[in-house]
């Protein structure tokens, strides 16, 4: 059963990839082990911690609760695609750096993939909105305060742009 292979043709951060995978391969493991994109972290593998959050057709989702085969024909975005080709950080990455919004960094990729999508939908967020949007991403280091500051700072630097 496990050797039944499925063709996956997907676009990750704008690059096409085609691979044959087992049906039971998780999307998180596909990104990390098959494509080598280890920026996406794996914590709990049951949807609780948020470390594995990526964007699937533009929406933040848990990559540990999707199968790699489900990426076939869909667009994936991971933390590796956020900075510009010249290394310019995304405004939220820069803001996290400026406000000490990370310590160990384990949660950071998931938070970025959640909150960049949030900022695109809510260019002028209130603090309660930010905290609500962050509620699905656990951080054991920062106490969240500086992450909330970073999102506020990024929103103001982006000036309501999407």
């Amino acid at each position: 059963m496990s050797d039944e292979r499925h063709r996956v043709a997907t676009t990750v951060n704008g690059t096409r990839h085609q691979r044959d995978v087992d049906g039971r391969l998780l999307l998180s493991d596909f990104l990390r082990h098959v494509l080598g994109l280890t920026g996406t972290r794996v914590g709990c593998e049951h949807g609780v911690c948020g470390a594995c959050t990526i964007q699937y057709d533009g929406l933040p989702v848990r990559s540990c609760l999707m199968l790699a085969v489900q990426a076939d024909g869909h667009e994936i975005a991971t933390v590796e695609g956020l900075a510009g080709k010249d290394g310019t950080l995304h405004p939220l990455q820069q803001a996290l750096r400026d406000t000490h919004g990370l310590q160990c960094g384990f949660c950071t990729a998931g938070i970025l993939m959640t909150m960049t999508a949030f900022l695109a939908e809510h260019p002028k967020p209130t603090e309660p909105d930010i905290r609500e949007a962050l509620s699905g991403n656990l951080c054991r280091c920062t106490g969240y305060q500086h992450i909330v500051e970073a999102v506020t700072l990024a929103a103001s630097r982006m000036g309501g742009r999407r």
Partner: protein, 291 residues
């Protein structure tokens, strides 16, 4: 951990999905949002031999207005329901409960049908569908049948669906004029399952006398629980602080929450009393302003 091996098939039509389910029965599971199923498979709490992925079936992803009901498809995600004006305008109880279900990332994938088929008594949504008196369409290769929500949930994680059936549509009826609703819960952390939650509906006549009421609870037993005697005792009364207090006390006596690691049975019962009082008061205010 990782899922045990299984066969995966992406369904290309509803008939295809139903034919596979008829062929493989209990060995096969539909994969909807995967937000309960894949978590359980990662921990090997579930080891289905066969997964029928219904995500390609986009025509099952809808919210429709028909007569005085709202129809919701097998693949309609929480995210869609939270943004749909038909839900906001006609199913206020569902709209009020949805933000309590998990986190935005989970709501981008999870479906109402998957939630109901999963039948977790701790979930908000079975209690909501019970409170509004929804009907559930079960479909198989043999045809379809409609199941009243009061007959749908048969125990923890079990439903009246048989091994060949898909929960194909959920039909939620409009509530009568001058009805107010309210959903409230208490959870340890935002997005967690509630320690207890209450869904209240209250209908008044032009003079402010209660003509119908429903009180249902999540995480208060093996299925969503209805405090029907407490709700019925409100009918015929003018809604006052006293009437609400008595209904809440009666509901506390009527339900038998089992208790769990987060809350003892007594604490759950206490919370149920407090939340019932608040929910009825809010539902009453809303019913009066809807008049």
């Amino acid at each position: 951990m990782k899922p045990a091996p299984f066969r995966y098939v992406a369904a290309y039509s509803l008939d295809h999905a139903l034919a596979l389910k008829a062929e493989h029965g209990d060995e096969a599971r539909f994969l909807a949002g995967g937000q309960s199923l894949l978590a359980a498979m990662n921990f090997r709490l579930a080891q289905p031999a066969f997964l029928i992925d219904i995500n390609p079936l986009r025509d099952l992803d809808y919210v429709r207005r028909g007569g005085s009901v709202v129809r919701i498809g097998a693949l309609t995600r929480y995210r869609t329901l939270q943004r749909d004006p038909v839900v906001a305008n006609h199913q206020a109880l569902l709209a009020e409960a949805l933000p309590h279900v998990a986190h935005p990332q989970i709501r981008n994938r999870g479906t109402l049908a998957g939630n109901l088929a999963h039948a977790d008594p701790a979930s908000e949504l079975p209690a909501v569908v019970l409170a509004v008196g929804g009907k559930l369409c079960a479909r198989s290769v043999k045809g379809e049948r409609w199941i009243a929500v009061k007959d749908f949930f048969t125990g923890p994680l079990s439903t009246a669906l048989d091994a060949e059936e898909m929960l194909a549509e959920i039909e939620l009826p409009d509530l009568p004029a001058r009805t107010g609703v309210c959903f409230l819960e208490v959870a340890r952390r935002r997005g967690d399952y509630a320690m207890i939650g209450v869904a209240a509906t209250l209908t008044v006549d032009a003079g402010g006398t209660c003509v119908a009421a429903r009180l249902t609870y999540c995480n208060a037993g093996g299925t969503p629980v209805s405090a029907s005697a407490a709700a019925k005792a409100l009918v015929g009364r003018r809604i006052s602080e006293k009437a609400i207090g008595e209904a809440a006390a009666a509901a506390m006596r009527e339900i038998e929450p089992p208790g769990n690691v987060h809350a003892s049975s007594d604490f759950q019962r206490h919370l149920a009393g407090v939340l019932t009082r608040r929910a009825l008061a809010k539902a009453h205010t809303r019913a009066m302003s809807a008049a």
